[in-house]
Structure formats: structure tokens, C-alpha cells
């Protein structure tokens, strides 16, 4: 596929969305918002959670009808009534939450909607050749015959991008593509996107990570509460200015904390081995402790056993050997509810699959660990008023953007779903907070808040086990850092005595230090 830069005179913009308005009951998701994307540029679209970014993109992709407003592509007015029409106009979208068919092969997913046919049959050979060429050109490799559910998140995203390229899209929308990627995958993605831009395609790139915005984009649009609050060429701005426009105030991620004085041991995991869901060894003899008044951070590329470790501690996975000691008692065989009752909270890494029930209300999602407790229920009969009050209180306290907790959870923006999970898990004041990827998909204002909460848990004499793929997050929050690689802890590093580079090497398995037993 050759570069297909089409230059039409007078059509400097590939996309113009003019005075778009979309109102939901109680929320104006887009309020006279206008977006201009030039041909051959990467356009950054940023803004706090619930600002209306996904809404604008879903409108451009034909998934939502705007109440009013005009869309212009290459200078021509168009009406985009469905994703199919968007695709015909050369628009593709990589969604915040992927939209692939999990039970179909990669090949089928890619050719869906544009299937090469020969004598009434799918021309698999032709499809494979075409897709193979794309994968070669952009160095994006995925096994075409495996089923999508077998892929890692990074691979799924590659499939989405291959699909866009296969359709020869000129306009590519990426809604928070890097939220789920490892640092090296992110770098790789940026290379591909730059290449696409240089071919004259236009890209709209949504992210909460301002460093990526600065590294990748040409022009930036900032949204806030449905309104476009700023437009600027990248070259004329910097991170701190962006974050201020985004959140409407200055953000400080350097959160003050009490000096490090660890207390008694809260969690003592000894020699844990466990299998993953496919029955393969995922944890090999992992030991770690978490004490009061400390945050232990686990760094590592996703899929190196962190998920299983968290599940073993939270009680959702039985280890094949080893034991979990919590506040002096062996809790290895106990139920999830027992552990929760005794002060273990858990923010899961995969919020959509495990952390929420999308079809239930926000309130139903907030009361999961309370609904049966004294004060909220008596002999199996629940006090709906009290639970409602509780969820309204949490909504206010955690600034969850929804007019009413009686709304379906699926109406929330991605970052606000994460706030629901975090609100539910920290309101109980846990003795041990397990936080896996706690700031995935949330804006910097909310990140400041969530980091503040994590530090507050530590400062109040409780303990936190933090799992994150973001090295920034690990470095800024943890008192001690453990690095996991292939199911083992390969390094234990104290705060302040290490840096991104060193951790990175351990993460890639390039270095290893004997995991010595800790105090």
C-alpha cells in the first residue's frame, strides 16, 4: 500500500466537527464543541474524565447521533449515520474498549465488512496476502489463525490497527490506545502512528498521558465538561500548561507523605506457586511481605504473574503451594468474603470484566461490599434508602460524574467507571488495599486524588500492595519496589535507590537479583 496523500486545494482540514451538541438527561456531553483536524497530522484530544472525548469520537464514527452540529470531511458536508457509513468515508476507530469478535479468528475480524470473495467463497489466500503485506510494511505481527480471545491486549489493539489499514482508512481515531500497553508496546505504536501520518493520513489520538501528547501530536484540542476549552499547536505549549487547562487548576502529583516508618507485618505471602487460567505455571515460589504504613509496589510487564499473585491474595485463586498469612493468621483457604470482611480491599486490573457490572446501576456497583452488612440490611432485607444515601455520598466524595447513581453504569465514561471501583474499595478503610493498575484510564486530576487516597491509606497506618505497569506510578508511590518477571520476584529495591532504567532492565529479564527473604 503506497502513501496516499491526497491534496485538494482549499481543503486543509480532513475533519471538521462544527458546533456539535449532544445532551443526555442531566449531562451535556458535548456543548457546541468544534474540532478541526488537518490532513496529515496527529491531533491530540485530551480532557478530564467525562469531558466528552469519546462522545465526540463516537459521533464522528457514526455510533451516536448528535443533537445538532455539522461534520465536514475534506471540505465536504457529510452525514454519518452509522459506523458502516463512517467506514465508507474512510474513517476507522480503535475503541477505548475493544470491539472485536472474541470467538472469531484474527483473519475473520480483519476482513469483516470488506471480505474478498472468489466464486462465492471467501478468498482466504488473497486476504492473507493483503494482510501479510500490511503486517510486513508496518511491522505489526499477529497470528492470523488464532482466535481473538487468545490474544493479549496489545495484540488485540494491533488487530484493530491492521483492520483500519486493511480498509485503507484515511482517518484513524484512537481512543486511549496506550492505556493498556506496556512501555515498549507504546513506543512501537507511536512509531506506527508517525509512519501513518507521514503517508498523509489524519489521526485523532486520545490519551490521559501528557508525555505522549507532547511526544506524538502536532495540534491539541482540550475539552472540559463538553466544551472545547483550548486549541494549540503542540510546539507552543508544555505539560504543566496542558494539565492546568485540562483540569482547571494546577495539578501536583508530588504528594507529601509521612516519613517511612514501617509497622508490623500485615501480609506475609510465603512460597506461593500458582497456575494461570490455562493451567500453566504463573507464579513460582513467590514470597513477599507488606507492613503497616508502607506501600509495596510491584513493577513488571503485564502477564508476568502479577494478576495471579493478586488473585491468590484476594482469595479468587487457590495456590498450588505456599500460604498467605494475614495479620498473623493463615488465610490461604478462606473465602473472598471472609477476606473482605477482615479488611482486604481489591481494585482489580480489569475493571470491565471483574470490577463492575455494566448493566446494573452505578449504585448497585457501589454497594457490592456493603449491601448485606449491619446497618444496611437486617435478616436479609435491605434498606434501599440507606444504600442509596451511601452511594450518593460516594458519588459526591469521589466526584463521579453522573447526575444520579440510579443511572446504568454503562452510561459512565471510562475514567468514571474506575472511580466507582476505587470509591467502593477504599470507603471501607481497608487494612490492606490491593490496587492493580489503579490509575488506568483516569485523568490527571483524578490521578492526583487517587494517589492521594493511596498515600492516605499508608499514612493512617495501613498497608498497600500496588501493582502497576506505569513506572512513574510505581516510583512515585512505593516505599519498596519488587519487580516480577516470569512468575518470580527478580529484584527488591528500596525507594529512592533505583530509577526507571534499572527497573526496566529487571522487567525485561535482562538482570536478576536473588529474591532474598525480607524482614
Amino acid at each position: 500500500m503506497s502513501g496516499r496523500a491526497e491534496h485538494r486545494t482549499g481543503a486543509a482540514y480532513a475533519v471538521e466537527m462544527l458546533n456539535i451538541r449532544k445532551e443526555y438527561p442531566g449531562v451535556v456531553a458535548a456543548d457546541d464543541a468544534s474540532l478541526y483536524v488537518k490532513e496529515g497530522e496527529i491531533h491530540g484530544l485530551i480532557g478530564e474524565n467525562g469531558a466528552g472525548k469519546s462522545t465526540m469520537m463516537n459521533i464522528l464514527y457514526g455510533m451516536i447521533k448528535p443533537d445538532r452540529g455539522i461534520i465536514r470531511l475534506y471540505g465536504r458536508d457529510v452525514v454519518i449515520g452509522s459506523p458502516r457509513m463512517a467506514i465508507e468515508h474512510g474513517i476507522s476507530m480503535v475503541h477505548q474498549h475493544f470491539m472485536l469478535m472474541p470467538n472469531m479468528s484474527v483473519l475473520r475480524n480483519v476482513i469483516l465488512g470488506r471480505t474478498p470473495v472468489r466464486r462465492g467463497l471467501i478468498d482466504v489466500a488473497a486476504a492473507k496476502t493483503a494482510i501479510g503485506a500490511i503486517m510486513e510494511e508496518y511491522d505489526l505481527h499477529v497470528d492470523l489463525d488464532s482466535n481473538v480471545y487468545q490474544l493479549s491486549v496489545g495484540e488485540k489493539q494491533r488487530v484493530e490497527i491492521i483492520k483500519a489499514l486493511y480498509r485503507e482508512s484515511r482517518i484513524l481515531i484512537l481512543d486511549e490506545p496506550t492505556a493498556v500497553l506496556t512501555p515498549s508496546e507504546t513506543n512501537k505504536l507511536m512509531e506506527v502512528l508517525t509512519k501513518l501520518k507521514n503517508q498523509g493520513r489524519s489521526l485523532i489520538f486520545i490519551t490521559h498521558k501528557l508525555r505522549e501528547v507532547m511526544a506524538l501530536t502536532d495540534n491539541i484540542t482540550v475539552m472540559r465538561r463538553g466544551v472545547v476549552t483550548g486549541r494549540t499547536p503542540k510546539s507552543e505549549t508544555e505539560i504543566s500548561a496542558l494539565s492546568t487547562v485540562m483540569v482547571g487548576r494546577e495539578v501536583d502529583l508530588e504528594i507529601p507523605r509521612k516519613p517511612y516508618r514501617p509497622g508490623e507485618c500485615v501480609l506475609d505471602a510465603r512460597g506461593i506457586s500458582a497456575l494461570n487460567s490455562r493451567g500453566l505455571p504463573a507464579l513460582r515460589d513467590v514470597s513477599l511481605t507488606v507492613n503497616r504504613s508502607e506501600i509495596v509496589g510491584i513493577a513488571g510487564v503485564e502477564g508476568n504473574g502479577q494478576s495471579e499473585l493478586v488473585e491468590v491474595i484476594a482469595g479468587m485463586l487457590s495456590p498450588t503451594s505456599g500460604s498467605v498469612i494475614y495479620k498473623g493468621t493463615d488465610i490461604t483457604g478462606t473465602s473472598v468474603r471472609y477476606r473482605r470482611e477482615n479488611g482486604i480491599s481489591h481494585v482489580p486490573e480489569d475493571r470491565l470484566r471483574r470490577g463492575v457490572a455494566k448493566t446494573c446501576t452505578v449504585s448497585d456497583n457501589l454497594i457490592l461490599n456493603r449491601y448485606y452488612q449491619k446497618g444496611y440490611a437486617k435478616m436479609g432485607i435491605i434498606d434501599n434508602r440507606k444504600l442509596r444515601d451511601l452511594s450518593e455520598r460516594l458519588r459526591e466524595e469521589f466526584a463521579i460524574k453522573t447526575p444520579d447513581t440510579g443511572y446504568k453504569l454503562s452510561t459512565l465514561s471510562g475514567g468514571n467507571m474506575q472511580k466507582v471501583v476505587f470509591a467502593r474499595e477504599t470507603q471501607m478503610i481497608p487494612d490492606l488495599l490491593i490496587a492493580a493498575q489503579p490509575s488506568r484510564g483516569i485523568d490527571i486530576g483524578a490521578m492526583e486524588y487517587i494517589h492521594g487516597q493511596i498515600i492516605a491509606v499508608r499514612d493512617s497506618g495501613r498497608s498497600v500492595l500496588l501493582v502497576s505497569a506505569e513506572l512513574d506510578e510505581i516510583l512515585s508511590l512505593s516505599d519498596r519496589i519488587l519487580v516480577m518477571y516470569e512468575g518470580r520476584i527478580v529484584a527488591r529495591l528500596p525507594r529512592g535507590e533505583t530509577d526507571e532504567r534499572e527497573i526496566g532492565e529487571y522487567m525485561m529479564g535482562a538482570r536478576s537479583k536473588d529474591g532474598e527473604a525480607c524482614a
Binding site: F98, M99, M101, R337, T359, N369, G380, P403, G406
Partner: protein
């Protein structure tokens, strides 16, 4: 602001349910039209179906109540599990077992206190229905057997078991009549009929059905079990992450569903037939699925759709009585009506389900 939003939500809900009702009434009219056309081409008066149903809504409302009772209860049995995304197609089998247990207990209590003996009859029927429903539930929990298949297969076992009882150990030998049935159960165990609806066999079971509907609605809205059912049905991974055990919920809802099915059996034995009769059950369980579906699996709605199906069933009986339409044709007419209506109600549901399974877990 908050008030306004809540008002808006309530208004939207109202509008939605009005819209749904309007659409359903349209479907009913269409269904009657199909039925009339069918009668016409078969050479019977097309008005027969309308007249039959009209009768069952007016002078013969009692008959409608009689049929609505088991239909409401079966509908409730289905809707209880549906919310947890479990499909109990075994209501027929469970109600057969309930009827058998009711009969056995009733026959054992010839001179007991009338109140206590009725309580015993119903308790036995509910226990039997529950236990029989727990078989597929346990198979699902421990062996991951699909409950759709297992509950359906168990229906045959239950029906054959009742046949065996009434031709063997429980068979009434006293009268010499050649009937595959148990002896008449003692009068003190009869559930009373509703006197002002006499001579129909409409009975106190109708009140039981209404109370059950209220109880189930309460269970869904106001109890921890109701919340757990909702959560397990919405996302069982989320449920177990929160400390709810989906397996336990499965056992609970199946047990509850079976117990309600057992009540159907007890009502039919103690108020309608007064004995265990081979094949007394005209597929109440399967009708219950349609009843629940039509009510969108809402317990209050089940009462109305149960009454509606009661009117239909009774209308069929009336049709046979007032015209010379043979019963086979009547059955076909009713099937046409049920298919037309339930297809409309079921289609969007089916589409949703297909979409969901195609997209998987949103992964």
C-alpha cells in the same frame, strides 16, 4: 436538578412501559386475526375464536381465574431463575413431583386438622419440587452441565414417574373404574374453591399466586438475595470478586423456582383434581416460560400475562363448547396466537442475546 433527573427517569420508564403495552396489544389483535384466518380456511366460523375469548373475559371469568392460577405460578418459577441468567425449563417436571408428594401426604392424613393437613400437603409439594430442581442445579454447579438440557430431560423422568405411581402403587382400585389415577384425597386436605366463582374450579390457589407474585417482587427489590441474583445474572465474575458465590445463588434460585413449581402441583391436586391424575398437566411449565417472557420477567407483569394466557386457554375451552370446532383445531388456534405474540416479545431478546454472545465479554 437531581429531582428533575429522577422525574425524567420515571417519566421515561412510564413512557417505555406504555409503549411496550401498546405494541403488545397490537400484537394480540394481529394474533387474533391470524387465528380467524386459519379458522376460515379450515371451514369453521372465524368469529369462534373471538367469541370464545370474549366469553372467558365476561361471563366465564371464573374459568379464566382457574387457568391463570397455575400459569401465574409457573411464570413466577421461570422469572425467578431468569434474572440470574439461569434457564429452568424443568418447571413441568418439578410440578409433577410436587403433585405426587402432595398426593402421598394427603392420602396419609385422612382425619388430621384441616389447616395443618393443608399446610403439610403444600410443604411436601414445595419440598419435592425444590429437591427435584436441585438435581440439575447441583449438576450445573459441580459438573458444569448445561441446565437447559438437564432440566428438560428431567421433565420426562418426572412425567413417567407419575404415570408409574398412578398405574402402580397409588392406583385407585376401590371403584373398579378403569382410570389411571390415585384415590380421591381426603376432604380435609382439599384447598377450598372460591365460592362466588362456583361452579368453576377457580380456587384459593389464585390468592396464593398473587401473594407469591408480591413476595417475589419484594424479594427482587428489597432483599440481599434479590441483589445477589441481579449481580450474578449481570456479571458472575464481578459477583465472585465481591464475595458472592454464584454457585450458591444458582442453588438458591433453582430451589426457590422448584418450590414454586411444587405449589402448582399441590394446587392442581388439592383444589382442582382432588387426586393425582396421569397427564393432568397440560404443559403449564412451558406456558410459564412464555408468560414470563411476555411480562419481561417482571413478577408483577407475570400476574397480568398469566391472566391473559388464562383467558386464552379458557377461551379455547369455550370455543369448543359453543361451536363445533374440534379440540385439535382449537389447540392449533391457540398455538398460532401464542407463537405470534411470543415471537414479537422474544425477538428483541434473542437478538440481544446473540449480540452479547458474539461480542463476548467485551474483551
Amino acid at each position: 436538578m437531581e429531582r428533575r433527573v429522577r422525574d425524567w427517569l420515571a417519566a421515561a420508564e412510564m413512557r417505555e412501559s406504555l409503549e411496550i403495552s401498546a405494541r403488545r396489544i397490537g400484537m394480540i389483535i394481529l394474533a387474533l386475526l391470524f387465528a380467524a384466518i386459519f379458522l376460515k380456511v379450515s371451514g369453521y366460523p372465524p368469529s369462534a375464536v373471538v367469541r370464545g375469548i370474549f366469553l372467558s373475559l365476561t361471563r366465564d371469568a371464573a374459568g379464566t381465574v382457574r387457568w391463570a392460577t397455575p400459569l401465574i405460578l409457573s411464570g413466577l418459577a421461570v422469572c425467578v431463575t431468569y434474572k440470574a441468567e439461569i434457564y429452568n425449563l424443568g418447571v413441568d417436571g418439578q410440578l409433577y413431583m410436587g403433585a405426587a408428594a402432595a398426593t402421598v401426604v394427603a392420602l396419609l392424613l385422612p382425619d388430621a386438622d384441616p389447616f395443618l393437613s393443608r399446610v403439610a400437603v403444600f410443604a411436601a409439594a414445595m419440598a419435592a419440587g425444590m429437591l427435584f430442581a436441585l438435581i440439575p442445579a447441583l449438576l450445573k454447579v459441580y459438573l458444569d452441565t448445561n441446565e437447559v438440557v438437564s432440566t428438560m430431560l428431567l421433565n420426562f423422568i418426572a412425567a413417567l414417574y407419575v404415570d408409574y405411581l398412578v398405574t402402580g402403587p397409588l392406583r385407585d382400585t376401590s371403584t373398579g373404574a378403569n382410570l389411571n389415577a390415585s384415590p380421591i384425597i381426603p376432604r380435609n386436605t382439599w384447598l377450598p374453591r372460591i365460592s362466588y366463582l362456583a361452579p368453576s374450579s377457580a380456587n384459593v390457589g389464585f390468592y396464593i399466586a398473587l401473594i407469591a407474585a408480591v413476595a417475589i417482587a419484594f424479594m427482587f427489590k428489597k432483599t440481599t438475595l434479590g441483589y445477589e441474583i441481579k449481580i450474578v445474572g449481570a456479571n458472575s465474575r464481578f459477583a465472585s470478586y465481591g464475595g458472592i458465590r454464584p454457585q450458591r445463588t444458582t442453588l438458591q434460585v433453582m430451589g426457590l423456582s422448584g418450590a414454586i413449581a411444587g405449589i402448582v402441583g399441590a394446587v392442581e391436586v388439592s383444589a382442582v383434581q382432588h387426586r393425582l391424575l396421569a397427564g393432568f398437566n397440560p404443559d403449564f411449565g412451558f406456558d410459564g416460560i412464555v408468560v414470563s417472557l411476555l411480562a419481561n420477567h417482571n413478577p408483577a407483569g407475570v400476574v397480568f400475562s398469566g391472566l391473559f394466557f388464562g383467558a386464552l386457554k379458557n377461551g379455547g375451552a369455550n370455543m369448543e363448547r359453543i361451536t363445533d370446532v374440534p379440540s385439535a383445531v382449537t389447540k392449533i388456534v391457540m398455538a398460532i396466537i401464542i407463537l405470534t405474540i411470543s415471537a414479537r416479545a422474544a425477538l428483541p431478546k434473542l437478538r440481544q442475546m446473540l449480540k452479547r454472545s458474539a461480542r463476548g465479554d467485551n474483551a
